[in-house]
Structure formats: C-alpha cells, structure tokens
C-alpha cells in the first residue's frame, strides 16, 4: 500500500520538478557574466553579485603540475607558496599585511592544470588589491633566506597530506599507474625526492616561463559592475608587460589503455582496509559533444550518497561494504578520471568487494539505468547549479576552472541545460564505452599483504 502511494507521489514529482528547476535557474543566472580580453592578453571575467559589499578577486594562471619540466615535480606548488614572499616594490609580506589589515581573506591553490591566487575583501579595496596582484605577476623577488624555510614548509605539507596518510599514498600510486605517459600521473605536490631538490632558480625559471598576463585569467565576483572592473583592470593590469610567449599546452597523451591494473599499498597503520578504482575517461575538454555531461549524470547515479547504485547495492542490499560511492572529475585539459570506491565490512575481503563492484558496473553496462534514476540525478545536479548561485566564491571558482581547463563561460552557463537534455541512451553509452575495466587501475589499501592474500 505505502509503496504504491509513494510511486504516485514520485511520478508527480518527476513530472514537474525539472520544469520548476528550469524557472529557478533562469532567474538565478539572470545577472550577466561578462568576459573580455585586455591588449596584453589577460582574460577577464566579471560576475556581479550585489547582495553584500564584498568582492572576490582571483588571478588564475594556465599552468599547473602537468606543465612542470621532468624531474622538477612540485615546482608549480612550491612557486605558489613563494609568490607570497614579496617583490621589489612590495617586499616581504607587504601584500599579505595589506590584506590582513583590511580584514581580507587570501589564499592560493595549485592543481595539475592551474594555479590560482585569491582574496576576498570589502569592495572599496579592489583597486589596491589589483595593484599588488599586478605587481607580483612579474615582480617576484626570491632570496635563499626565504626559499629555504619555505621548502621545509612544503615538506611538512607533504608529511601532513601524504606521508602520514596511507590512503593518500595509495591515491598517488593509483594515479601514477593509471597514467602511463601523461604527466597527470605525478602528484600535484610532487614526489618527495624531487621536492627536496627544488631550488630558488627552479622556481624563478618556472615563474618567468609561465607567469605573464597572456597566460592568466582574472575573475572578479561580487559587488562590482563589468564597467568598473574593466576600467580598473585596463589601468592596472593593462600595464603589465607580456613577458613570455606561451605555446599551446600539449602534453604527452595516453596510449589506448588495454590492461587492467591493480596496485596494493600495505601499511601497518591501516585498521580499515578500502578500495578505490579510477578509469581513464574523457574530460569536458576532450569529450565528444556532450559525453562529459553524460558522465556527470552517470557518476551521480552510481555515486549519490545513500541513493546511488554503489551505496544501494553494496551497502544496503548486499551488506558487503560500510560505504561506497563514485565520482567524475570533468574539469581537466586532457583525459581525466572516473572513480568508484568502497570500504568493506570487517568480514569481507577486498577481492570479494572488488567482484561486487564489478557486479554493479557490469549491470549498468549491460542494462543501463532507469528513467527514475535519471530524473533524480538530474534534479540533484540542476539544483546544485542553483545553490551555487548563492556563493560568489563558488561561481568565481567555476569560471576560473573552466577557463584554465579548456572549457568556456558559455559551457558553464549552459551546463544545467545540457544536463537536462541527457538521455537514458547517452548514459548507457557512456557506461558501455568508458567503464571498461581495461581502462582502470584498482587500488587496495591493506594492513599487510599476507593477510589480504589469505583472505582472498
């Protein structure tokens, strides 16, 4: 009885929600996003949001760990830290002191494809901030006095993120095994033996090669208009000399993958074994047409917390896992990853869990997904798009990521429409084509090797 009632409610919800969400999205993105390019090549994106007198100012460089010279892994991230060390005009910490004094927040981040610097401040400080950021685009001064302690800082960061964390170390191994040829196989933070050898000259060489207005994107979100940003940016950033000609970002590409791989990391600290698998799949930038939005939907259907296939099958129905999910990282310049993961119940071996995961994937590959699953996934993804309109920082990040990974403002704006248009057949085709185990690496995290073998 109850079940039938729920199905009636469900049918009603399916019928009307996408339409409602469509209205909401249309309203939410009503405030126009502007984009223009200065004569020195700096691209600018402005996202007005007048709810609070605050601006988010982000400078994105189209360079990341995948652009590092061989043997210098970690230099993109090390340079990101060193960018806080001062210039001739604004020595030692003056920029951070300014941000601190006005009560601004600042930080920076590095990925395989981009490096970014951001500040959030009261809007009247925007111009002053631009002066500082423009100055350090080409004016960085480094001495060994500041470089050497900072090298120790990033080694401690490596300890904190990676060395102390067996799960993170397994993640590095899976990624390294997945990419046979492409530099995405390197950890963003670098391999420790190479980080230890990084020098001031390495940092400056990398800086001079890649930090130039024609390799950067300015994103300003908040209580501003496109006109005022254009004026400030032209006056301030427009004066920065274009100091490097940067060719197309061509990295060595992956061969057709044809062997499934499995890696195991054993560490005596592991008290809870786990498993994660990555498949080599297309990104937004490399996908044909809208294959990447089909992968977004597939990841949601497989991976949604509590309601996704992975959780429903492995945790709720078969009781072989305590947790399970899936994800897809669409933003990448080159071939990217689709991941599935699970944590086994105490009495379940990783090999048994691995087979159970194969069962979930095989089922989707053979039969596709249901109309109900498709609608629920779309509803969540589209609502995420609406919720994102509530945060200027989130929006600024979306556009920054898009423009540094081969996507575009237009693709961000139309993302929810393209999600809505995904069909059952497209989701099924994406699963069939890309969730092929020969394209994957599976990582096992265990306490010791012997024990896992015995149990399997």
């Amino acid at each position: 009885m109850t079940n039938r009632l729920h199905r009636v409610i469900a049918a009603f919800a399916l019928g009307c929600l996408p339409a409602i969400a469509a209205i909401a999205v249309a309203q939410a993105v009503a405030s126009p996003v502007s984009q223009f390019t200065l004569t020195n090549g700096l691209e600018v994106v402005v996202i007005p949001d007048h709810r609070a007198p605050v601006v988010t100012h982000m400078m994105w460089y189209k360079v990341g760990a995948a652009d590092e010279p061989a043997g210098k892994s970690g230099i993109a991230h090390f340079l990101e830290h060193l960018m806080f060390k001062g210039t001739k005009k604004n020595p030692a910490g003056r920029f951070s002191k300014f941000v601190g004094t006005i009560g601004g927040h600042e930080n920076a981040f590095t990925s395989s494809d981009y490096t970014g610097y951001f500040q959030r401040v009261a809007k009247e400080n925007l111009k002053a901030l631009m002066e500082f950021e423009a100055d350090r685009m080409t004016g960085l001064v480094l001495t060994d006095d500041v470089v050497k302690p900072e090298l120790n800082v990033i080694l401690e960061e490596h300890n904190q993120r990676v060395a102390n964390n067996p799960g993170a170390r397994l993640g590095e191994q899976v990624q390294a095994a997945l990419y046979l040829n492409h530099p995405y196989g390197k950890p963003v933070i670098g391999w420790r033996h190479e980080i230890e050898q990084l020098t001031r000259d390495d940092a400056l060489a990398f800086y001079k090669r890649f930090y130039s207005p024609n390799n950067a994107i300015l994103v300003v979100a908040g209580d501003v208009t496109a006109e005022e940003v254009k004026k400030f940016a032209t006056d301030i950033y427009g004066k920065v000399e274009r100091r490097a000609e940067i060719g197309p970002r061509r990295r060595p590409q992956e061969p057709q993958p044809n062997a499934m791989r499995q890696v195991t990391l054993a560490d005596p600290q592991v008290r809870q074994p786990s498993l994660n698998r990555s498949y080599l799949v297309p990104s937004i930038a490399t996908a044909k047409k809208d294959e990447s939005v089909a992968l977004d939907v597939l990841a949601q259907i497989l991976g949604a917390a509590s309601t996704g296939r992975m959780y429903r099958t492995l945790v709720a129905e078969k009781s072989v896992a305590v947790n399970a999910g899936a994800w897809y990282q669409g933003s990448a310049l080159d071939m990217t990853r689709f991941g599935v993961y699970a944590t086994p119940r105490p009495d379940v071996s990783l090999t048994a869990l691995d087979s159970a995961i194969d069962g979930v994937i095989d089922d989707v590959v053979a039969k596709g997904v249901t109309a109900d699953e498709l609608e629920r996934a779309k509803t969540r993804l589209i609502s995420d798009f609406v919720f994102a309109q509530d945060s200027q920082t989130t929006l600024a990040r979306w556009y920054g990521v898009a423009l540094t990974t081969g996507s575009s403002v237009d693709r961000v704006l139309t993302w929810s429409d393209r999600i809505r248009a995904v069909t059952l057949e497209e989701v099924h085709a994406a699963a069939r084509q890309w969730l092929d185990k020969r394209r994957s690496v599976t990582g096992y995290l265990v306490k010791d090797l012997v024990r896992e073998d015995k149990r399997s």
Binding site: L17, S96, E156, T307, V322
Partner: protein
C-alpha cells in the same frame, strides 16, 4: 585534479569562537514568531531562489549516557534513515526528488540541523524535516548500517595521529565529565547503542524549549510562520536534559607522548579560556588572533612556520563551551623537532602573557577583525549559521551592528591584562609520533 590549498587560514576559524564575523550593513534581521510560539530570525534575500535554515537544540553529546558515548552522534546519522511511513530508501529518494539538502550533526553542547531547498520545494523540504524530527523510525537494518559506518570510522581513528592526540587530550583534561568522552563514541560503546537509546535521546532533546532557528532566503515572514509550525510545532514543549556540571580542565602542565610510527608528529594543546559572556571575551579574542588566529601574521605562524619552516599549519583558537571555556591549538611537525616546536609555542605564549601585545599588533588585529566580519555574509547558509550562533550565545538581535564597536572599544590595557589572564595559566599538551631522543617521553613538567 584535486587542488592543493595553502591553508594559510587558521583551522580555528571553524570553531564557535570564530563566529565573529561581520557587520553586514545591508542585513536586516526580522524576529518572526509563529502562532505556535516558535521563534526564528529571518533575513529575507530574494536574489537567489532558495531557502537556507539552520537550527539547534540544546543538548548535544553531553546528553549521552555515561556508559554509551556516541548516542547523539548516531542519532544525527540516523535522522535521514527513515521517518514516518518512509523507510530509509524512500526517505532519501524523496530528498533527491525534491532537491532537499537535510543534515544533522551533534556537538558537545548542542545538536544542529541544516536544511537547504529551492523556494518552490519548501513545502516538501519542511515536510521531510518534520518527519525526521518527530517520527524517526530507527529501523533495525538502518541502525546496523549506520553503526557499521561509525565503527569503521573509529577503527580508522585508532591509528590516526590527529585523532589519538585529540582523544587523549579531552580524556585527560576532563576525566569525569561528559566533555572527556568522545563525540563519536568508542569501539566499545557504539555496539551497545540501541534504538531505545536513540529514541530516548530524541524525546529528551528535540523539543521546542531550547530550539533556536535562523532562516535566510526568498521567503517572507508570514510564510515562514506556517513553515515553523509545520516543522517544529509537533515537538514536545519541554526538554529533559541531564545536568552538565561546570568543570575546570585538568592536566595543565602535563605533556603526554604517544608512540606511533608516522613520519610527522602531531601536537595538540589547550588551557583554560574565557567564557563567551565574560566581559573579557572580546579582548581575549583579539589576544588569540595575535597569538595564533586566522591570518598570515600571527606570532605562531611567523615563528613556527615562516621563520623556521617547522610546520605547514599552526594555530590557536578560543573554544568557549557552555560548561568550560577553553583555549586550544595545534600543529604538526617532524618527529625530531616536536620538542623544539612545543618549546617555541610555549615561549610565545609566555612572552605574550608577560608583555602583552604591542600597540601596533592591537591596531592591526582590530582592523583585521573588523574588516573580515563582512566576509561572513556572502552566502545564505553562512549568514544563517551566524544568526544561529548569535542566538545560542544569547548576544541579542542587534549584536551584528554592535560587534565592531565592541572590538573598537578594546584598549591596550585591556589586551595586556587579558593576555595575562588568558595565557598565564599554562597549557596541557599531547603529542603523537615516532619517539626519538629529542622527543619528550611519558609524563613530565
């Protein structure tokens, strides 16, 4: 690719004390009282078609039975695992179909809930919230699943240096008090927790008596009134809370070391703090900002990270719990330099206690804290969280407008006096890592 954040902003900003955020000149707060007597603070924001609600009941993990720590934590995980006629799967699919985000978490003194939904789905969102609070099912299979997840997390924690350091700190500082018991329970207690324990907790805590609600979004006061009665009106009028005694932390002066074979050692420390309603709280907040608060210029950041490269993160924060005010901090560094790092931190604490901040430091700290308050008002969920915390701290609906004036009024004499009061009492530290000759061992001065 996962972005690496430099994490220069201090972790302490995520705590209750850090809720000092911002004067939003543009923010108008309405006090809304429903016909059923439920009060909420509302900021109407029609620019984005969503509604964010944050609420809290007094009585978090401090209401766990003494022999069963972890009850409140499990309840928080169980509230979306089925309610009313809907089992776990049906309930969660309804959340999906209506794009409703519903979450619960238990802290030491309070139990928090959070709801976010599209404006067009407020009826469905509120209906699901009402069900979760008034008719949670606590089905056997769902409990079993949730318990297995909790145990899996606890197994992980047994070899995580951060968790070991933190558990030992709390256990030693509050040996015979609810604050000494882990929020998420223990490997021994979690298997003992049953549906009856959870029902009892829900009955005692989920009431209208100490409920605080904050709402931000595209909704007017009249509509909100009926939403409030719909969501919370059916809850009992009165709570049945176990008394939690006021307590002083123990262990000050002690240094405890736990041997664990990991490359980086973790250090946690804490001492007596200053209560939220104490007249010295704001000066103490400024003193902490200067010592180890959230900017790149704190003394600990400069001495430990910038000058010596000993750590990636080092921080301190105020944690004014309801029954014990605390001053907390931590860092992580190479095993062979833990002792040196702890020594540096202690020296900075002593120096600030003895000499107080400089005039320039005070000016800069005030400027930072005033300026950064506005940054807390940029998303609906953040604003709602801030309004909720102001209610929990009982600071008054005009607090946001008063707050920067309170910062401004602090004098150099105030911070010097309060630096001594806050930092002169000594600290208790726990360390977890590889034992080396230079690392401290066992208990000591």
């Amino acid at each position: 690719m996962i972005a690496l954040h430099a994490m220069r902003l201090c972790i302490g900003l995520l705590t209750a004390a850090a809720l000092f955020g911002a004067p939003a000149q543009a923010t108008t707060i309405e006090r809304v009282v429903s016909p059923g007597g439920i009060e909420a603070w509302l900021v109407r924001e029609p620019a984005v078609p969503l509604i964010a609600m944050q609420f809290a009941f007094r009585g978090g993990a401090n209401q766990d039975p003494e022999s069963k720590p972890g009850v409140a934590h499990l309840v928080a995980a169980m509230l979306d695992e089925g309610a009313g006629d809907l089992d776990a799967k049906a309930f969660q699919e309804q959340l999906d179909r209506n794009a409703v985000e519903l979450g619960f978490r238990s802290q030491r003194d309070d139990f928090y809930g959070s709801l976010r939904m599209l404006r067009e789905r407020k009826k469905e969102g509120i209906g699901l919230l009402r069900l979760a609070l008034t008719a949670p099912r606590f089905d056997a299979d769902a409990i079993e699943r949730t318990r297995a997840q909790a145990l899996s997390g606890l197994r992980r924690e047994t070899t995580n240096p951060n968790d070991i350091a933190s558990r030992l700190w709390w256990k030693t500082a509050f040996p015979a008090h609810p604050y000494g018991r882990p929020l998420n329970g223990t490997l021994e207690s979690v298997p003992l927790i049953g549906a009856d324990d959870m029902r009892d907790y829900a009955r005692r805590v989920f009431t209208r008596e100490h409920l605080k609600v904050a709402v931000v979004g595209d909704v007017d006061a009249e509509t909100l009134k009926s939403m409030l009665d719909q969501a919370f009106g059916a809850l009992p009028a009165k709570s049945e809370l176990a008394t939690v005694p006021i307590v002083k932390l123990e262990g000050v002066g002690q240094r405890l070391f736990v041997d664990l074979d990991v490359p980086q050692a973790v250090l946690s420390f804490g001492g007596a703090g200053i209560a939220r309603k104490d007249k010295d709280f704001i000066p103490a907040f400024i003193v902490n900002h200067i010592l180890g608060g959230g900017s790149f210029s704190s003394r600990l950041y400069r001495e430990v990270r910038e000058k010596r490269g000993l750590a990636y993160s080092v921080y301190s924060y105020l944690l004014p719990l309801e029954r014990a005010a605390l001053f907390m901090g931590g860092t992580a560094t190479r095993a062979d330099r833990v002792k040196e790092t702890l020594g540096l931190i202690e020296a900075e604490i002593r120096r600030l206690a003895a000499e107080g901040p400089t005039k320039e430091e005070l000016t800069k700290a005030k400027s930072y804290l005033k300026g950064s308050y506005a940054l807390n008002f940029d998303t609906s969920t953040k604003i709602a969280g801030l309004l909720l915390q102001i209610q929990l701290d009982d600071l008054g609906i005009d607090y946001i407008n008063k707050r920067n004036g309170l910062i401004d009024a602090v004098t150099l004499d105030d911070v010097r006096r309060v630096a001594k009061r806050l930092l002169d009492g000594g600290i208790f530290a726990t360390m977890v890592g590889r034992s080396t000759d230079s690392g401290p061992k066992g208990q000591g001065g």
